[in-house]
Point group: none
Chain length 224, copies 2
DNA sequence: AAAATCTTTAAAAATTTCTTAAAAATACCC
DNA sequence: GGGTATTTTTAAGAAATTTTTAAAGATTTT
């Protein structure tokens, strides 16, 4: 299951009440009380955002952050009672997105979380005058006309759009779209071509799905 | 011109010293002392991120935020001495990305700004008026125009920039860029030349990629 | 001025991506 | 359950692009 938010904190009472409060306002939230629980969480689920305490029973939030950064880009907001500037700077430098001082106000934290979700949360919708991709309805329109894509094609397109502007390696695509089932570059080629045929006005000179030689592909769509 | 950061604050001393501090660490920063100045700034320039005070001489930061949100998605971080939770929640709800309490620590604020730039901004690993290098999108711009580099050329340039100012031996370049596959100095020569042709205004008198006789090459650049 | 090092150029070699068609796997319907 | 339609993968030659090689010219150092 995909949660909006995962709280990693060994102060069970605080974590639980925060999670409950979030849920009340429509932010689905899971809780992990330790590094270990966090790891097993990700074995089965995902989240769009992590609230991460620094002092944990079985280890250090900084280390977990570094570990996660190795394989995901998900926003990480640190929560901590530590007040030193050095801690804050380290947190931000190792890939944290924010540092929130404990004790925090539930209302402010929720607003903050919502702001991050709004900006970052896997938004793979896209729309310009020519192409429109609607993730909720799983539909794609070209010049207003619905275009039929297979489930896999749609997933591929969504992922590229979600990471619009960035170069996505083939490896990453197999990881994320094929869920690690690598079947060979030829597969990808063919799907990319079909996508191009479906959405590009001239598939031989793609404007949206651009090849980055020696690297992968990139979705290009007007500014940000 | 495109700045990394625009500070909008009527406390001139604070704004100026913050801007100066940022510049010192490679974040190009402009300052506007009022809503009006901010508007005229955007008439001619742009920024990747705004630090916005709430209490301004000629109006209110919240209003400016709403106004900007109408036409841009650029990250807005509020700066304010106001401590009320309500203010923070409003700031986040109207499209602000963060709320930073004054007085702030310059070091922490810089780390925060860099983190935001890294995630949302065109992460310019190098940028001056003439040349801009963006790792995330694997793109290089010369005088604002995208320049096409091969994957290897890009890797070479990135490495030189990463070690900007230091002399890099050919051996080291083969180690790091070619991953230890030594193919002969001729190879390197040719790639350096192509890079120069791509990014130097006069490839025969390189200003960025400088030859260090008997040693290797060095990237020279003032920006970040 | 000689020796060593760097630059330029063009063409060969190697690599990567594209295209196409057909085979295999999967889902769907009666 | 059998047959059909759809989707996904495989495979192989063609096309495009990148990288290396090599040789001649230029520059710097000693």
């Amino acid at each position: 299951m995909k949660y909006n938010c995962l709280i990693v904190d060994d102060e069970k009472l605080l974590a639980d009440s925060t999670a409950e409060y979030f849920s009340l306002f429509g932010v689905t939230t899971a809780v992990a009380y330790s590094l270990d629980e966090c790891r097993s969480f990700f074995a089965e689920h995902t989240a769009e955002l992590i609230l991460l305490d620094i002092n944990l029973g079985d280890g250090n939030g900084f280390d977990l952050c570094r570990e996660l950064r190795g394989r995901t880009d998900i926003p990480i907001l640190f929560l901590s009672a530590r007040t030193s500037d050095d801690d804050k700077i380290v947190a931000l430098n190792i890939g944290g997105d924010d540092y929130i001082q404990k004790p925090y106000s539930l209302g402010v934290l929720l607003a903050k979380v919502k702001a991050v979700l709004k900006r970052y949360g896997g938004v793979s919708d896209f729309s310009d005058g020519y192409l429109r991709v609607d993730t909720r309805a799983k539909q794609v329109f070209v010049k207003g006309n619905a275009v039929k894509l297979t489930a896999l094609e749609f997933k591929l397109l969504s992922y590229l759009i979600e990471r619009k502007g960035k170069v996505i390696s083939k490896q990453e695509l197999f990881e994320k779209v094929w869920e690690d089932k690598f079947t060979g570059d030829g597969t990808l080629n063919v799907h990319i071509r079909r996508l191009r045929e479906a959405i590009e006005s001239n598939p031989n000179e793609p404007k949206y799905i651009v090849t980055v030689w020696g690297d992968g592909y990139k979705f290009v769509g007007g500014g940000r």
